[in-house]
Symmetry: C2
Subunit: 308 residues, 2 copies
């Protein structure tokens, strides 16, 4: 197939199916986002030194200040720090996924992140990971409830234990320990899912869940973008957006395992740091008045809030 | 003495002398920077939960967009990750230092960082660490030479082996591995210096070197600030400044051991992240024309350039 030729890899049947699914997820998301924005994505095809490559799509749009939807398929030697999760004799890995971060222009539109991925070692290890989470500049309870209900709907179709478990996992993962603050209102996060630990018959069945999460992105986020992108905002709201983006940068560079793993193992820096906003800001110990919208939002950046 | 009462600690004679020296370094630097800027520092006195505290001084000025000069003296239990450098029976530490980062308004004025510190364990370990480094937005060879010559002068007075060793150490330390880029033109960096590994008679003598580095800051940086703060600049130069500040954020959050150590061990977040700029920016794979001033600067962000 074309993707094999493009990335110089010999796929197994399962790998080929997953890669095709991921490229379709990337396509449908880019189409939906472009339609909302009025601007199209720019595509950057690249190859990885140890095999494979990717299709990075970047947007600098009317409503999206900086956004990227990245597909990649890479193979290589397993770094020592990852070996703990695998069979002792595992030497090389195959990893593929779609990852996106959208930083809107307006402080009325939340930042959003989504990632679905598949990982395999040459010793027979195989698992999926992924997640979607929302980072509103100002938390809107109704919007948060709709977003979580949408994710819960997808999870429930596959396994009713997934949503509560993966919602709690997202609360723990998207957390800035040094601020004692969550990144936003969370969503779902999961990793190392295998048929054995999820009650699925096969990896093929389990992959359908991950694929479904990828296709849930448009349903979960496009209505939010559509209804909030034209709302007016103040300079003060813009200032708060830049500070909240600063916290986003802190999370990605200090705590996000995927980012650190990528930067420390020689991943493609521009694709990894595509997640950072165009502009961010830091102030020393900013103070927000009691009962101000800013203070109300900061109070909601907590683990364990029931949104769905 | 007053400092003992203020921070609730019982100092040894050596600790008291070092704390007094550090407070004097902080004072003289703040006076010199204020005089250049026309705006004064705001002071924030704080206490640390495990003992000690600090005097954080912050400036939002006319020429300094965001700057902080922080003094702290803290004691506490030694985190497991640090124990490798000490006697096996060491349980608690005493650490004190002055740390500063200045982010100027103008892209014609370099960002600067300085830190001098003293560390002691309850098992008799004691060492000094510190450094000064300059991050010009646009590298100016003459300015870089003057800066390095000033640091070399101070080092040479104490030990002629110091400058070449600590200059190379700074090149290695202030390095963004994921960009294959130094943070700026470097300076000096050193850690774990003891009388035994430096040929000094006593810690008291060695401390004089660190104190001297602290007092070298004004001589090394104030002339640069003074001669460049009123130069005009373009929008394009401002854009490059925001991108270079983005790299500064990346270094501090991904690679700087002091920052990570502080954030992961419950240090005071606002004082630690005082080092981040008010505004920073990221673009996807920015391109600079061959022979442009931006490209010329990027070529000089390399280890091993002889400046002094």
């Amino acid at each position: 197939m074309d993707t094999e030729k493009r990335y110089g890899l010999a796929f197994t049947e399962r790998q080929e199916k997953i890669v095709i699914d991921l490229l379709a997820i990337q396509d449908s998301i880019c189409i939906a986002l472009s339609e909302q924005d009025g601007q199209s994505f720019q595509e950057d095809n690249w190859n990885h030194s140890s095999g494979g490559g990717g299709r990075t799509r970047i947007i600098k749009g009317n409503h999206i200040e900086k956004g990227g939807v990245n597909f990649s398929v890479v193979t290589g030697e397993i770094p020592p720090m990852m070996k703990g999760n695998m069979h002792a004799e595992a030497k090389t890995f195959f990893a593929t996924g779609v990852s996106l971060v959208i930083h809107p222009v307006s402080p009325k539109v939340p930042i959003v992140h989504m990632n679905v991925r598949y990982f395999e070692s040459d010793a027979g290890d195989a698992w999926i990971g992924g997640g979607i989470d929302l980072t509103p500049i100002y938390v809107d309870d109704m919007q948060a409830a709709n977003f979580h209900n949408c994710l819960k709907g997808t999870c429930d179709k596959h396994n009713e234990e997934f949503y509560p478990k993966f919602k709690a996992w997202a609360d723990d993962y998207f957390f800035l320990k040094h601020r004692n603050e969550t990144r936003g209102i969370g969503g779902v996060f999961y990793d190392y899912l295998k048929p054995e630990n999820t009650g699925f018959q096969s990896m093929e069945d389990l992959w359908e869940f991950n694929r479904d999460i990828g296709h849930t992105f448009n349903r979960a986020y496009i209505p939010i973008l559509s209804e909030s992108k034209d709302l007016s905002y103040t300079e003060n709201e813009k200032r708060f957006q830049l500070l909240r983006r600063g916290r986003y940068v802190e999370f990605n560079l200090v705590w996000d395992k995927g980012t650190l793993f990528g930067l420390q193992t020689g991943g493609r820096t521009e694709s990894i740091l595509m997640s950072l906003p165009q502009f961010a800001s830091w102030e020393y110990a900013p103070v927000f008045e009691e009962n101000s919208p800013e203070q109300e939002t900061l109070k909601k950046l907590r683990k364990g809030i029931v949104w769905a």
